[in-house]
Amino acid sequence: MEVLKTEELTKIYGKEQNKVTALDNANLVVNQGEFAAIVGTSGSGKSTLLHMLGGLDRPTSGKVFVDGKDIFSLKDEALTIFRRRKIGFVFQSFNLVPTLNVYENIVFPIQLDGNNVDEKFVSEVIGILGLSDMQSRLPNQLSGGQQQRVAIARALAAKPAIILADEPTGNLDSKTSQDVLSLLKVTGQKFGQTIVMITHNEAIAQMADRIIRIEDGHIVKGGEPNE
């Protein structure tokens, strides 16, 4: 079942001489429960694609469907709400709220939505990610790997339709990278999550079910599930 789909997605930055086409008519389909890795060199357009998929940036043209919904038909406020319900983010730089402790960071998007926290589910996620002993710590008291695990827990906690990970291991050493990625994959499988991850590291990409290759804004390989 398609959970994520793009149609002729194009993003152009700048004007006239400074015009840069970061993404050019990109078509992509991701099925429920899939773990897809988007790879490409620096400047190939993979981050731009991910940002479009998450509704963080608006495309110049084209559409993005999440769970069948054209996300750019939504206004900013509604898009934000849609994002926190349907999309979980894992950033390279963790992006935890510095004033909230680990637990509060994890349940932050749920509480923003005014929903009750599914304590059982959250505890399970926290347990799997090995964060049980550090729930009351503040982000600046954690190591990079620990912070990224919190970010993953946060992405999972709201049970989104899709998790978008932007170079989640970019700030981590190789050992921690392996650990974090394994956790991401395991939890994804366990909870049936769809994960789209961008990386420029081929070895890491190999852990994914599918590799989507992007060059100069074009998806050159892996745009369709069975490609």
Binding site: H51, G54, L56, D57, R58, D76, E77, T80, I81, R83, R84, R85, F89, F91, S93, N95, V97, P98, T99, L100, N101, Y103, E104, V107, F108, P109, Q111, L112, D113, Q135, S136, R137, L138, P139, N140, Q141, R154, A158
Partner: protein
């Protein structure tokens, strides 16, 4: 270590960094500008006011030299002239006073000016004509000419009756010069020529101070300046010691110009001034420190990055300083220009509103303005540099990894929070406030400072009490008393005769209340006698006191007997007992008060108390009264002459008239409901009759005089309060805006994980509200404390001040802050939303 030429690279980096963050730059430059405006406005307005006040005082004193020696000889002048400490010497020769009946309302002192400078130094240089040269010439002020009812024309004949050391001579002179007289001057100086002086008041050869029979005419008054106005009294004492050695009996009398008395300030005032300066400096420091701190915090990742690529801590500190210097280079000149314009605008409005004649004395000279601007610039720059020291340190000491994780959180906050904490905009806002407690404290403190300053100023302004101010000058709507305050007591108390009172009582619409007076004696007995004996023992060592107390102990001392009517009692404030006008009328009761001028400084020694019986003799009559109240007679109603020991015995007018055969009043108090001015005109006309020694004064004259002062003080104080309040509010805006601008990335991140714009705005709004509430609470607490202690203490001695506790300015400012805390976050957030989340997330 080898020196490398890296300055250029560092500077380039600093400038590039600056260019990269335009919005923040504007905020920082604005905050420096604000501080500079505050310093400039305060120094120029303060300087202008001080200058103006000093000039006004000089006019009142009648001289602009710092000090002078009185009644000296030409050789003394030479001595002073050759002393290295003095400069700008001038002299005038004392001749005598004009005693023309037309001049009863002004004191006209005839002098001979040593030269033009001498006339200029006393603000009496003819603006038309010149100083007298021949023996029959005179130069007068327009005030004297008006009193003499003479035209302002050169060549006008002037007849003067001149009292030279008690001998009155008549002179027919010709007007050779005149100038705009100054009504506030204590005396009108009139000039005559040296030839006149030599003929009628030749300079004696013997020193005034060693002469047996002291006469004044012919002696010189020598005035001069020192090189600075610091400690003029001390300098003058030193000068006398140098000139006359140890022989203090030969020391001439000196005069210190009290326009310069600010230089002889008491330690308390210096401390007060220093405290105020420190508070102002602190306000500026907090504004700038706060902004710099935020600025550095938002750039901390950059500094970490620079460190990773090999920039040293010293170089980073240098970069921050370069940045501060560039900000100052923009902020300070603008601040000075705006500050000067603001103060100019204010001073000119004060001068025009008050119609101040000597407007030029309130304007600041170009050099002074320049100095003040330089001081303000230096002060602001010093504030900037001191304020950026701490941020410099933070920037320099940050490690690359710390920098990446830096988020302004005060380290060592380790709170084990319950994991069930509800997360909402309010709680996140609260978390943000406590995340950086130092920043919160700094912002709240700086806002509090401004508000407290405003509140303090307001309390002082509100406490100025005009009724209190005139209470020592006049009682009732008008008063009539004898012209010459220095005349003999006998004359004065007979000044307002019973005939005059009868005449005044004829004037329709005027209620005349005579204050009768005569001297008598108190015959102490029993307890009172015992008390006096004790006082005699206590002060027996003091020759003068002992002499007076001796008389009292042996059975009698001075009674100042006043006779008043029922209406006058309303102006008495009993210290003991109460005043019953009916009882007073019966003639069996009296209001009393006793003075004893002793060395302890406490002159009110109550011998008689309410309920006591006082035995009073007046001429050949002896009466006994029961003391109904102890009360000081209002100063304007008194004779203003005090014995070393005396008891005021105030009885009813009827009782007074039965006591003495020669009744007379020291003055008459007049009340009137007439608003047309007719009564005033009639009273004035009565006093101005040919040969009348009576002088009319009314409440309005004093109120007008006070109003000028009041309006000026209120305008200056009000504007300063306005500036301070505005700075406080701008600082608040600054703090909130900077707080938002510096967290663009953080806000974008929250937005990315699902916090909507509305929720973010709400969170920012709550932060503003927290600041506003904290500020309100702190300001109210500190303001109340300061008001109850310092303001109350400092104004306690001001006779025209009634302390009223108020927090009104704070109460007014709080809703403004609350409103701003609702509006600013929305506006600022909108501004940062121009960039997409991704763009903001990519920022360092």
């Amino acid at each position: 270590m080898n020196k490398v030429k890296n300055k250029k690279a560092i500077r380039r980096l600093a400038f590039r960094e600056l260019k990269a963050d335009r919005r923040m730059n504007i905020v920082v430059v604005l905050s420096i500008m604000l501080t500079c405006i505050m310093f400039t406005a305060l120094t120029t307005i303060g300087g202008g006011m001080m200058n103006g006040m000093q000039q006004e005082t000089m006019r009142q004193v009648g001289g602009n030299r710092m000090a002078g020696i009185k009644l000296v000889l030409p050789e003394d002048y030479e001595k002073v002239k050759h002393d290295a400490a003095t400069k700008d010497l001038v002299y005038r020769i004392i001749i005598g006073n004009a005693v023309n009946t037309e001049l009863k309302n002004v004191k006209a002192e005839f002098n001979c000016a040593g030269d033009d400078d001498a006339a200029k130094a006393s603000f009496c240089y003819p603006s038309v004509g010149r100083l007298p040269e021949s023996i029959n010439e005179t130069a007068l002020s327009t005030v004297v000419l008006d009193e003499l009812q003479l035209p302002h024309e050169i060549g006008t004949p002037v007849h003067i009756s001149l009292d030279i050391d008690g001998v009155v001579t008549e002179h027919d002179l010709t007007l050779c010069g005149y100038w705009e007289g100054d009504k506030v001057a204590m005396a009108q100086i009139c000039w005559i020529s040296r030839a006149f002086a030599d003929k009628y008041a030749p300079t004696p050869s013997e020193s005034f101070y060693t002469r047996e029979h002291r006469t004044y005419a012919g002696y010189w008054q020598v005035d001069f300046n020192y090189f600075n106005s610091w400690n003029i009294t001390g300098k003058t004492e030193a000068l006398l010691s140098r000139l006359y050695g140890d022989n203090t009996s030969e020391f001439p009398d000196t005069g210190i110009n009290w326009a310069f008395s600010a230089s002889d300030v008491e330690p308390g005032s210096i401390v007060g001034a220093i405290v105020i300066l420190l508070v102002i400096f602190a306000a500026g420091y907090l504004i700038i420190y706060n902004i710099f701190h935020i600025n550095i915090s938002s750039n901390i990742r950059n500094y970490g990055l620079l460190k990773t690529i090999g920039t040293t801590a010293k170089q980073i500190r240098h970069m921050v300083r370069v940045r501060a210097a560039v900000y100052s280079a923009f902020g300070i000149p603008f601040g000075i220009v705006i500050g000067v314009l603001l103060s100019r605008l204010m001073m000119s409005s004060i001068v025009s509103i008050l119609n101040i004649r000597s407007a030029e004395s309130y304007s600041v000279s170009a050099e002074l303005l320049m100095t003040m601007c330089l001081i303000s610039a230096a002060f602001t720059f010093a504030t900037v540099m001191i304020s950026c020291r701490k941020p410099c340190k933070i920037a320099g000491s940050v490690s690359p990894i710390e920098a990446l994780r830096y988020n302004e959180t005060d380290i060592n906050i380790k709170k084990d929070r319950k994991k069930t904490n509800k997360v909402n905009p309010f709680s996140i806002a609260l978390g943000n406030m406590s995340r950086s407690r130092k920043k919160t404290v700094v912002v709240v403190l700086s806002l509090t400072l401004s508000l407290v300053l405003v509140n303090t100023l307001f309390t002082v302004l509100k406490g100025i009490d005009k009724d209190k101010y005139i209470r020592d000058s006049i009682v009732g709507d008008a008063m009539i008393r004898h012209t010459d305050n220095t005349n003999l007591i006998g004359d004065r108390i007979n000044g307002v005769t019973t005939e005059a009172i009868a005449d005044l009582q004829q004037i329709e619409g005027a209620e005349t209340h005579p204050i009768y007076f005569t001297y008598g004696g108190v015959c102490p007995e029993g307890e009172q006698l015992e008390q006096l004996k004790k006082l005699y023992e206590k002060y027996g060592g003091d020759e003068v006191l002992a002499a007076h107390l001796e008389g009292a102990v042996s059975g009698s001392y001075t009674a100042a007997i006043y006779g008043i009517d029922a209406d006058t009692t309303a102006y008495f404030e009993p210290i003991e007992g109460s005043i019953d006008t009916e009882k007073l009328k019966s003639g069996k009761y009296a209001i009393v008060h006793t003075y004893l001028w002793n060395s302890d400084g406490d002159s009110d020694v109550e011998i008689y108390h309410a309920g006591d019986t006082i035995k009073v003799e007046c001429g050949d009559k002896m009466r006994e009264y029961e003391v109904m109240a102890v009360s000081i007679i209002p100063y304007p109603l008194s004779t203003k002459v005090y014995s070393i020991l005396e008891t005021n015995v105030i009885v009813s007018a009827e009782e007074y008239l039965s006591l003495t055969d020669k009744p007379a009043a020291t003055c008459a108090m007049i009340n009137t409901s007439d608003e047309s001015g007719r009564v005033k005109e009639q009273l004035k006309a009565y006093c101005d009759r040919q040969g009348s020694p009576l002088v009319y004064t009314d409440k309005q004259t004093y109120l007008d005089e006070f109003n000028d002062l009041l309006v000026m003080v209120k305008l200056v104080g009000g504007t300063l309060s306005g500036i301070l309040a505005l700075i406080g509010i701008l600082n608040f805006i600054n703090a909130v805006v900077t707080g938002i601008l510096s967290r663009r990335r953080e806000l974008a991140m929250m937005n990315a994980v699902g916090m909507t714009g509305g929720q973010l705005k709400k969170m920012l709004m709550w932060e503003g509200v927290h600041y506003a509430v904290l500020t309100a609470v702190c300001s109210a607490a500190v303001g109340a404390l300061l008001s109850r202690t310092a303001v109350r203490g400092a104004t306690g001695d001001m006779f025209f001040f009634s302390y009223h506790f108020t927090l009104l300015p704070i109460l007014i400012c709080v809703p403004v802050l609350l409103m701003l805390s609702a509006v600013i976050p929305s506006v600022s957030y909108k501004a940062i939303c121009h960039d997409s989340i991704v763009e903001r997330l990519r920022e360092n």
